[in-house]
Every structure is written in C-alpha cells, then in structure tokens.
Symmetry: C2
C-alpha cells in the first residue's frame, strides 16, 4: 500500500473532476496544478497549488514548459525506500508527488478535425507524456491515471484503502499508461509519416482500440478480440446474437464486395469468406433471388449483404432460409419487425460503413505483410479486346461485373456470370483448371442459364485447357489478365470458337 | 536552414561517435552531455560541458533526473522566431539547444535477455524520450537524431549546409523520432501487458520493423513491404530471385505446416497458400515424391518445404520440375551446387525459424481481428472413437496426420491420406460436400491408392451425404469434430459400412 499525500493534476479533458476532487479532499491529498486545470479546480472551489509556486519557476513558452522541471520529476521518480534518493530529494528541496492525473492534448481529435499543421503540432503534448511515463516507471510508489474511465476505479481504490493504493492497482494503471503513451506517439508518428510521404517507415507502429472481446476466434480453442484502427467499426447491430469472429470476417468479406458495386445496388452472399452468389439486378427482390440461386445450398447459414435498404417484401423472403447475418444499408422498420421474428438472426446496419485507405495487414508468426488493398477501379476503357468478335455494351457490363466479383474470390478464382448475376463460382484451388470445373459444376447444378454466359479469371490461363473447358460448357465471353506464353494460342482458340476474349491489364490474386 | 550552435548528446549506445564529434567540432558546435556519454566524449578528447553545469542543477536519483529540467526543455522547445519566447528565454537565462542526439536505454535488449524485473524497469528511459519528443515537436528549429544509422546523414547534412540543417531534413528526422518513441513505448506496454496478464488491452499497439520493401503486393498494382515483430524473419535466402509477397505468404503457410510435423520429418508443397501435397514418410526422397504425387500439376510453380536437411539426391530430383521456392532445414553444400544450376530458384534456409506465440492479425478496412494461432497439439488421447470398428495404431497415426494437415487447408477442408501422405485435398469451398468431391477427384486423378484411405474434415459433417461420398469412394476411416444434429445418423452409417469413425473434440476452421 502507498499512502497518497500529493497529487498533480493536468488534464486536457476537464470533465468529471468534481467527484474525484471530493475524494482527494476527503483523504487530505494536496493538489498541484497549472493553466486551465488549475482554473477549473479553483472554479469547483477546491484548494490547489500552482505548479509554478511548487517549482519556483514560471510557466514559459506559452505553456510549452511548465512541468518539465526537476522538482516535478524528482518528486515523481524518487524511490521512496531508497536512502540515496531520500538524501537527494532532501538536499534539493524536492517534495513527493504520489499521484499523477494527466490526459494529453487531444492530438487524435485535431487530426480528425483536420486542423492546420501548426495547430496539430501545438497539440503534441510533451510535458504530459513525460510525467505519465515517469509515474508509470515508478509505479511501485506512484499512481498514474491517464483516462477519465479510470476516475471511478481510483475513487474506489482510495475509499477501499483509506487514501492509499495497492501495488496491484498501480501496476495496472502503469500498464494502461504505457498503452496510452505508445498509442499517442503512434498517432503522431502516423501524422509525420503522412506529411513526409513515408509509406513504409523503418519502424511501423499500429495503434488500435478494443471494440470487444469475442467469445473465441475462428475456433473455440482460440482467444480473440476485435479492435478498431479508428475507434469504431461503423457497424450497428440492431438485433440478434453476439457477432463471432467468423461473422466479422464474413461481414468484412461481404462489405468489401458490396461497396465495390454500383451505389445502392447489389446483393452479396458469403460463406466461409468466399462469395457464393452476387447480383446487381436493379429489382431488389430479383437481385436477392438471383444471388441466392447461384448456390442455394452454400447460402444456408451464410451471411447476406444488401447494398441498399431492406424493405418488408424482401424481409419476408429472407425469413424463408437460415441465415447467420443480414447486413444492409439500413432496414425499413417494418422489415426489422419481420426479421426479428427469428430470435438469433444478426441484423447489421452498415449505412455508416465506408471503405478507407488503411493498409491490409496479414501476419504470420513474427512477420507482418503489409500492402494497400486491391481497390483499383476499372472500366472497359482499361481492357483490351483481343478477339475478332467484339462485346456489345451489355456483354461488356457482364464481363466487368464478373471480373470485379472474381477479384474478391480466393485464388485461383473463376466466376461465371449471366444477366448481371453470378451463376458459378470456383474458388481456392491450387489449379486454375479445377476452379473452372468447380464453377461449371455449380452452374450446371443450380442455374443452368439459357442466356449468354461470361467468365472471368483472376489471373491468366497458363494453357488453352481452362478456357477450352469454359467454352465447351457454354461460355461465350471471357475476361482474363493475360501474360501467359500461351496467350496467342488462347486468342486463336477463342477466335476459332467465336468467343469474345478480353485482356484486362491487371491481375487480382487474393489468398 | 537552421544554424546549429549547441548540441546535446546523450546516448546509450556509444559507438561511432568520433566522426560525428569531428564534424560538430569543425562547425564550432558546442556540446552538452552527462554521465557515460560525457565520459566517452572526454575520452575521445573533444570539448564538452556537463549538463549539470549548464542547468545549474545536479544529476540526482542515480541518474533518473538529469535532463528533465526547464533549462534543457526551454532550450529545445522555444520557437526561435517568436518574440514572447525570446523574452522568456532571456528572462530565465535559457540558452538554445539546436541539436539533440539521443538513443534510449536498451529496453528491447534487456527484455530479450530476460533480465530481472527491476533491471527491466530501470531500463525504461524517461529523460531521453522527453528530449526527443520535445526536439521533434520543435523540428522547425531543432534537429533530432535518434539512431546511429542517422549519423552519416547528419554529417553529410552539416557538411552540405556549412553547419546548418534544412527544414526537410529536420522534418524527416522528426518523423523517425516519433516512430522511435512510439516503438519504444509499445515495447514497454507489451511488457506491462505481459506482467499484468492483459491479453487484450483497451489500447493495443503493434510495433514492427521494416525488413524490406517488396516489389509489389499480391498484385503488381499494390504497394507492399514485409515487417518483423522482432527484428528478423529468421529466414536465410541462399540463392535466387527476390522473394515476392506471394512467395512470403506461401513460405509462411508451408513453414506453419512443416513445424507442426514430427521433428526432422516431412515435406509440404504449397500453391496459392493451400497445401497440395504433404507427406511424413521417413525416407527423404520417397517423402518428397509422395507429397508431389498428391497433385503434381498444382505443384508446378509452387513452393516446397522440407522439415529436414536437403541432400544431393533430393536436389537432383527437385531440379526435374519448376518450383518457385525451396525451403529447408539447411541444405547440404553439394545440394546447393546442384540447385543453383537453376538461376531463379529461391533457396531458403529456415533452420533458425521457430514458431512463436504472437497473435494472428487479420485486418479489413478499419478493423483488426486478433486471435492466438491454432496450434493446439493433439494426439489420439484427445479423440473419441465412436464406431464399432476401432482403428489400429497405424490407422490412428494416419488419421491424426490427415487431421493435422486439414487444419492448415482453407475451409471447408477435406484431406484424404494413405500411408503417411496426403492423396487428395479439397479446399476453400462454401460447401463441405464440394470439398469432399474435389478431394476424391484429385485422388482418383493422381494417386488412386490401393491401400487404406483415411479422411479428415476440419468441421463437422452437417448431413450424412459428405461421409457417404467419401466411403463410397474407398475411404475406410474418418476423423471429424462432430457436433451436428445428424451425428447419430453419421455413426450409424459408419457402422453399417464398417467404417472407422473418430470424433475429435476440436474444430479447425481456417479462412
């Protein structure tokens, strides 16, 4: 136990001080403060000493230097039981500071509000982190409080221990303090990386905030939690059971595709992180039915993402099958009522969800692979038509649709589409030929379309065999990146079979 | 341009100071220092003022407080062109410090060397980061150097600009400085998380160090780099082209499996992050041939990982097909000679690679999903035999082998094995039944084994149909997690067909 006799309070966020000050007063804890915090404490009618009176040095440089003083840091950093330290502090008239309550200049807020560079720089707190780090280092004697969320904990601790804190409590606060300082400097580092155009700095630090601990990870024996890089996931759960790790992973797979589709159009069904049906038919009900038709068996227990608002008609249709999660760009109230009849179904309003420009982080063992996400926008202007027969606008639209979906399917990926909907998806195979066969099998099993079928491949066909298999199964137009030594043979085969062949410039592996 | 008149040097790593000091002397830059750095500079016979003489305050608390002084921080933090600031520093007898050269107490090193808690705490630098942060904040006037790697840059900068530094240079150094402080505090936060058993802290910061920028990411239009969480990847490239993003991703997929196999035994072949052949036959050559036989078409352009040392006989065999990467637990010199005949083949010695206990990080948009890796060790003691016919030791070994490989195959995953080698792998399907079919098709196409075939499924069979398909194709023993409402029917079907059925307690999804 450490008795607290003197506290230093220097907070940027001045809310909720009153109950804390009341407790400190009750335990006869002296208070040091300066600037705005000093004024606030005075205004709340508590006794407080100005830091400049304590140190004997004035606050200078517009407040840039006030606590960066040996009397402050000596008061925090001395080991209470150490004779040499005791001698030092006596000789230098240093008095102990046992409790440091600091929250930092709101760097995160000024960044979000896009204030001027000058303003941003002024909001880099120097004195605050120095005191917090000193107090956390000396946690065996000193208590450090770095967040408003900890005020109640501190109040309880002081009440429980009659003005003292336990070592365990101080250690926990130190742990949170170093998380704060690391997080804070990570934000600043990111800002400097940005203004210096440093995409891959020598030392890269990722900061994230806990959104919630999950029941478990991909499997029950794995511990798991979800964090956000910017405080919120922007997903609003309206109903249903708690989201699991696999739910989140599927939701992100779904939203990444949904947000790549035309505004307010499109349905995506995901199972095991792969799409098993996508449609961009304008009629909402038909769009869903068409996505579902692509592989209704796999859709069982899957998640559906609507790039538009879900109404009652659709809700009735959705209730017909078992789904784990429904994600939508808002739900009509009537639709919510209908969907809530199923107790467990998770309803997620993703209308605030926006794709951002973060890195894609993939970790394995002690390595982190970073890349920017594959969000290349493409249109038919980027593509080269290499067959004698040229696609018309409708065919081109179907080809682009298929190619776009294809990039979100795990490699090797083959997507068959017809009339703005997928009709066969072959995913996750080491051999491209196998992915072709899987897509064809699916198509024959479920949709068996009579209209024109187009095919997309995420990477080039190494041989003629894959494209041959597709064409023999009814495909009349193919889009693929090109780049094989067999490209010429493939073009010849397409021409011999009156097939449309388009070369995209870009490859879209995804693993 | 900012002329440098006074530098403060306080370095934990005292190497390479001489050329730097020579340059500072040449430009008449005064030097402040203290403690060990002061002694070192004296020893190198350069003129230097003690910090305690500069501040007028002694170094106290065993060095815990020496630079945490308003004269130091006022000297760093004042805005040179600001009249109020000028007035403040004159009134308080503060002199400018224009260059701060600091590297921190070696916290990372003491953590790695597992020193005592007390020693670790003493190595939390307080004064150093405070000065570095102050100097970096005031980069418009002050130059901050935080790493030995920057000494040459600084020397060149001073030479080029006759004792001044450019704003651009100072900004770059500030960017690197905040990366340093964030990285440093992230290490400390990790240590405190560990000693307080905090697995998922409210704020989680990941620190990583750049290993190298890659040519591109999964696709040529994506920028990419690989970082390490602990300074090194422990992979030693002996020969061949630069490793690509997809190479790294496949290498990690391969090593994760290899390291799960018995010591010094096993071959893994990876294509598009999925295994397409795994064997644990003891004879090295047979082991490779057997892994390759599982899907020789997919292995083309894949990567092979050997859990043992590669000798010349195997090297000759490896040269027969096109492989992108060969990973091994060392290569015999003769084998290297043989393999180097292929100019581009990447040879990776992974003998120093060890699996660690890091989180698995998966990011999407602004979310980070964290979980610990699926490294559960299992043996037949964990499994429940539910069929009338019981497996013998050899059958059980095959079942465990298949189940272990299965957990590293993307879900839904089905692995068929025979005689300690995979003979069919079905991966990445939204429907388990499709994964069964793919595995069977592969088996029939390539190996078509005459001996007993066992099957493993990463999650339960929802219906009898999957297991039925496997048994009808020659499978005589199945291992799966169980948990379906149809478990009883599945057991009945197994017994009716004289099939061995084992329920593992654990599921092993992987996406």
């Amino acid at each position: 136990m450490s008795k607290i006799k003197r506290a230093l309070i220097s907070v940027s966020d001045k809310e909720n001080l009153k109950p804390l000050l009341t407790t400190l007063k009750k335990h006869n804890i002296k208070i040091l403060s300066s600037g705005g915090t000093y004024k606030k404490i005075k205004k709340l009618k508590f006794k407080v000493t100005e830091i400049s009176n304590f140190t004997g040095s004035p606050e200078i440089l517009d407040g840039r230097v006030k606590t960066l003083h040996s009397k402050i840091h000596g008061g925090i950093l001395n080991k209470r039981g150490n004779k040499r330290h005791l001698k030092d502090i006596k000789q230098n008239n240093i008095e102990n500071i046992d409790l440091v309550i600091v929250n930092f200049y709101p760097f995160e807020k000024v960044i979000k509000n896009k204030l001027s560079h000058q303003n941003i720089i002024e909001n880099i707190d120097i004195g605050g982190p120095a005191m917090v780090r000193a107090a956390a280092k000396n946690y065996s004697d000193v208590t450090v409080i770095t967040s408003l969320n900890q005020y109640d904990e501190l109040i309880n601790e002081l009440k429980k221990n009659d003005g003292s804190t336990s070592l365990e409590f101080r250690k926990k606060m130190a742990q949170e303090a170093f998380s704060e300082t690391a997080y804070y400097d990570s934000l600043i580092a990111d800002y400097f990386n940005k203004i210096t155009n440093t995409y891959f700095p020598q030392k890269k630090i990722f900061h994230s905030e806990l959104i919630k601990k999950l029941r478990y990870g991909e499997n029950p024996h794995q511990k798991s939690a979800i964090y956000s890089l910017d405080n919120s996931l922007n997903l609003n759960q309206l109903h249903g059971k708690q989201l699991s790790y696999n739910n989140f992973s599927d939701i992100y797979a779904a939203l990444t595709i949904s947000k790549s589709l035309p505004k307010d159009i499109g349905v995506v069904i995901i199972k095991h992180a792969n799409p098993c049906g996508v449609s961009i038919i304008k009629d909402k009900l038909k769009c869903y039915q068409s996505a579902l038709a692509c592989d209704p068996i796999s859709a069982f227990g899957g998640i559906v993402s609507f790039n538009f608002k879900v109404g009652p008609k659709l809700a009735l249709e959705l209730n017909k099958i078992f789904l784990e999660v429904i994600v939508a760009n808002k739900f009509d109230n009537e639709a919510i009522k209908i969907l809530k009849k199923k107790k467990n179904i998770r309803l997620i309003d993703a209308s605030n969800f926006v794709l951002n420009k973060n890195y894609k982080i993939y970790s394995s063992n002690n390595a982190i692979l970073l890349q920017n996400e594959d969000k290349l926008k493409f249109s038919h202007k980027d593509f080269r038509i290499v067959s004698k027969i040229k696609p018309n606008a409708k065919q081109m639209k179907n080809l682009i649709f298929a190619f776009n979906v294809c990039r979100y399917v795990k490699s090797n990926a083959i997507v068959l589409a017809c009339n703005n909907s997928t009709v066969g998806i072959g995913s996750g195979q080491p051999s491209r030929l196998d992915s072709c066969q899987i897509a064809i099998n699916k198509m024959k099993k479920f949709v068996n379309p009579s209209k024109e079928i187009v095919a997309a491949s995420d990477a080039f066909f190494p041989f003629v065999d894959g494209i041959e298999k597709l064409i023999q199964s009814g495909v009349s137009a193919v889009i693929q990146p090109s780049g094989s030594i067999n490209d010429k043979n493939i073009i010849r085969y397409a021409n011999d079979t009156n097939t449309i062949l388009v070369f995209s410039k870009t490859r879209h592996f995804k693993h």
